[in-house]
């Protein structure tokens, strides 16, 4: 037999359950625009029935759980996609900047300035003593040198910017991992107590996606609901409530740019720079250490070949004042000029290496590596051209002094050098930074148009040889100046096009995945409003139950009264 009290109890439970559902609906509506939010749903459950006559009778409803609608497969795909997107997006940004430095559809690029420079020489060849022609040539040369200097400084600025962003990104990563560790604890506390930590999980999911955009991660969830995250292939970033920071360290072998280090115990620092395979961090490192270094090397090579080739011919001619052996550009690339030598920070030898130009006509504008190794008690030096891999080696002795000559350069080695010591040598390094016209505008008479020292006002034979350099395959013996520049532009363009296309494709697939996620987890107002009405009706009906129960009781009381 039922009891009126039981009816009241059922009504109370029903009202409470529907109220919970309305509250969850309200939470859903409120979070319709929250990024990373998964809609929640109340699971209703019948309460335990009573064994009664004529049989088991229900005792009402209970809001058993609040679940979040969520597809872990899609979430995993989004994480993977965010890694590649982060990597490609920063590269796209950088390459767009770079390619616009190198190409100007309005005709003010380096290629046009090179053409103008040679045209000015042609004009001078038609009137070798003309002051206006000489002044024009110097101003065209200045414009060319300035443009090359500007490209260099813009590239260098971008490289520094990438480096600063490495530091910022590391800070962002550390802040995110700290928050994830914090959420780990909250989730585990809630879930061991038997509650679904829906909102905490949403927040953690969003943070993990943000983290993936910055660095490649692997992660798994343990049986307490806490995630363990490994970043950059090897570094444990989060485990349970603990997080470990990534750090930066200045690398003196890489222009004092930041290395990424991981030092969890505080006494065993691991260099992760080359272990990072994806995410914004990888994009920044790729642009900073590969793309920009190659492009700066290219523009240095162009500047060095222009300066060296023009100077060689120019030094052989005579100015209107009869002066000769004058440089047209600095750096001069003369016999005896020192070139850039950089010792590695790991070198243990105390000796010294200096390299000078012995024959400007043999310079290759390649980078060289000088290494030392042991052969019994002897120290062996090896000089390698890093472009062609051609090398020369010999035994290093202090008496007689060792000064091998290789591809136009003399290597003067002194002092002690230990096996494993390394030096990089480059004749063209920083040429783009330092390129300048060596003749001032009040010394136009120094421009060596002539091949004879006196009575040479109309002698244009040297200028004609200089003009011929426009068609000479001066760069690496394979390209003209302009041909080389055009191949650099083509390379940058192709790289930029590839990254643009990949990043667009990645963005598109990320949007698709986001839509799939929102399709499962997103809030639909129509649905929520329908639910709201459903729960409201149920709540009203339950309230009516109380009225009815009350009336039933009144009836009984009236009989008694």
């Amino acid at each position: 037999m039922g009891s009126i009290n039981n009816i009241l109890g059922i009504a109370k439970l029903a009202m409470m359950a529907q109220q919970t559902a309305i509250q969850v609906t309200a939470h859903n509506i409120a979070n319709v625009n929250t990024k990373g939010y998964s809609r929640q749903e109340v699971v209703f459950e019948e309460t335990t029935p009573l064994n009664w006559n004529p049989g088991q009778i229900g005792t009402g409803v209970n809001a058993a759980a609040i679940l979040r609608k969520y597809d872990s497969f899609i979430e995993g795909q989004i994480t993977d996609n965010r890694e590649s997107y982060g990597n490609l997006d920063i590269q796209r940004y950088a390459l767009t900047n770079i390619e616009n430095l190198f190409y100007d559809s309005y005709g003010a690029g380096i290629d046009n300035l090179l053409n103008d420079f040679f045209s000015a020489m042609q004009d001078l060849s038609a009137n070798p003593s003309g002051t206006p022609e000489r002044v024009a040539l110097l101003s065209k040369a200045d414009a060319l040198a300035d443009a090359i200097n500007n490209i260099y400084s813009d590239l260098f600025q971008l490289q520094k910017d990438m480096n600063n962003q490495v530091n910022q990104t590391i800070n962002d990563i550390n802040s995110i991992t700290e928050q994830i560790a914090d959420l780990n604890v909250k989730i585990s506390q809630a879930e061991t107590a038997g509650h679904n930590a829906n909102d905490y999980r949403d927040m953690r999911g969003k943070l993990m996606n943000d983290l993936a955009e910055l660095v490649d991660i692997q992660y798994f969830e343990d049986n307490t609901g806490q995630v363990t995250i490994i970043g950059g292939g090897t570094a444990l970033l989060v485990e349970r409530g603990n997080s470990w920071d990534l750090g930066t360290e200045i690398n003196s072998d890489n222009n004092d740019y930041y290395n990424i280090i991981y030092n969890p115990g505080g006494n065993n620092s691991v260099d992760l720079t080359n272990n990072i395979t994806n995410g914004k961090l990888k994009g920044l490192i790729t642009i900073r250490d590969t793309t920009l270094n190659e492009i700066i090397d290219d523009i240095d090579r162009l500047a060095a070949s222009v300066a060296n080739e023009i100077n060689q011919v120019h030094r052989g001619g005579f100015g209107l004042d009869g002066s000769t052996d004058n440089d047209f550009f600095t750096p001069s690339f003369k016999t005896g000029d020192p070139v850039s030598v950089t010792g590695f920070s790991t070198n243990s030898g105390t000796g010294d290496v200096s390299v000078t130009i012995i024959d400007p006509t043999l310079l290759t504008y390649h980078n060289y590596e000088l290494t030392f190794s042991a052969n019994g008690s002897d120290t062996i030096y090896t000089i390698t051209n890093k472009t062609t891999n051609v090398s020369t080696s010999g035994t290093y002795t202090t008496i007689p002094p060792t000064s091998p000559t290789f591809q136009g350069l003399t290597f003067n080695i002194t002092g002690t050098h230990d096996p494993g010591d390394k030096y990089t040598v480059s004749a063209h390094k920083d040429a783009a930074k330092n390129l300048q016209v060596a003749i001032s505008t009040d010394e136009t008479y120094k421009i060596a148009a002539a091949m004879q020292a006196v009575d040479n006002g109309e002698d244009n034979r040297n200028i004609l040889t200089l003009v011929g350099l426009q068609d000479k395959l001066s760069v690496d013996g394979t390209s003209t100046f302009n041909g080389y520049y055009s191949s650099v532009v083509g390379e940058i363009g192709a790289n930029s096009q590839y990254v643009n296309n990949s990043s667009m494709a990645q963005k598109f697939s990320l949007e698709q995945l986001d839509n799939m996620r929102e399709s499962v987890s997103g809030v639909s107002m129509d649905e929520e409003m329908a639910n709201l009405m459903k729960y409201q009706n149920a709540y009203e009906a339950a309230a009516r139950l109380i009225t009815v129960s009350d009336e039933l009781l009144q009836t009984l009381l009236n009989i008694l009264g």
Binding site: V32, S125, N127, P128, A450, G457, G483
Partner: protein, 297 residues
Amino acid sequence: MRVSDKVMYNTTTQNMQMSLEKILKLQENISSGKRINHPSDDPIGAMKIIDYNTSISKVEQYQRNIGNATAFLGVTESAISSTQDVLLRAKELSLSALNETNSAADRAIIAEEVSELYQQVLQTANTKFNGRYIFGGYNTGTPPYDSVGLYEGTASPDGYIEIEVDSGSRVAINIPGYRVFGSPTDGVDILAALSSLETALNNDDSTGINTAMINIDSAMDQLNNELAEVGAKMNRLETSDSNLSKLTLDLITYKSKIEDVDITEVITDLAIQENALEASRATLSRILQQSILDFLR
């Protein structure tokens, strides 16, 4: 597929964004008139444009060089032909001087005119063009022929000012004075010939006059040869110039094919994208305006 509010909103905004990106690109193409505005638009095309620009700049420069050469040679040509007139007159005068009816006094009068002719030739030999002595070879500082008619310009065989009229192909824009007016060591020294004619006339020396006349004859041959050479050079330059003009036109056409937009195509594309954008906007405004709340009263 379940459609949540965000799916609806994201899809429409993403579509609008895509249309807008394409429209921006098309606008850039239309406003610049160029299909390639960044190397990544077409890396190979960008390389070709740079190569074409270099070729065009070179060809235009060759044409400017030809212009300079033609002007210089033109002045040379008129200098030579005016000298020819002078020598013709000198020959006429010496012929009439040889006439037996002329007295020594008559010959002295003729000698005066020959002296004038000498000055005229000297002046022509020191012709200046844009402040440059055209017959001085490399030497522009001093007149190539001094007051006594001695050649002081660049000595044989040097003194040719060459300029490029095509890649690796050079033409001398001048003829050194020693080739035209001669010098004590090269060809017929025209000034010396006139000077000796004057002396012979003054001395009433018919053998001298005869010798001078023979010299003037060979001088005229010398001038004819040089004039022919100048003419041939100018012809060659004219042919080169018209070839280069055609080449420039061809190069500009090739470059334009790679670089310039097909405006009809771009405008059509733009119209298509505008329609797409308009449709997306219309959808967004109609769908998002509607809400279940409008029906719950």
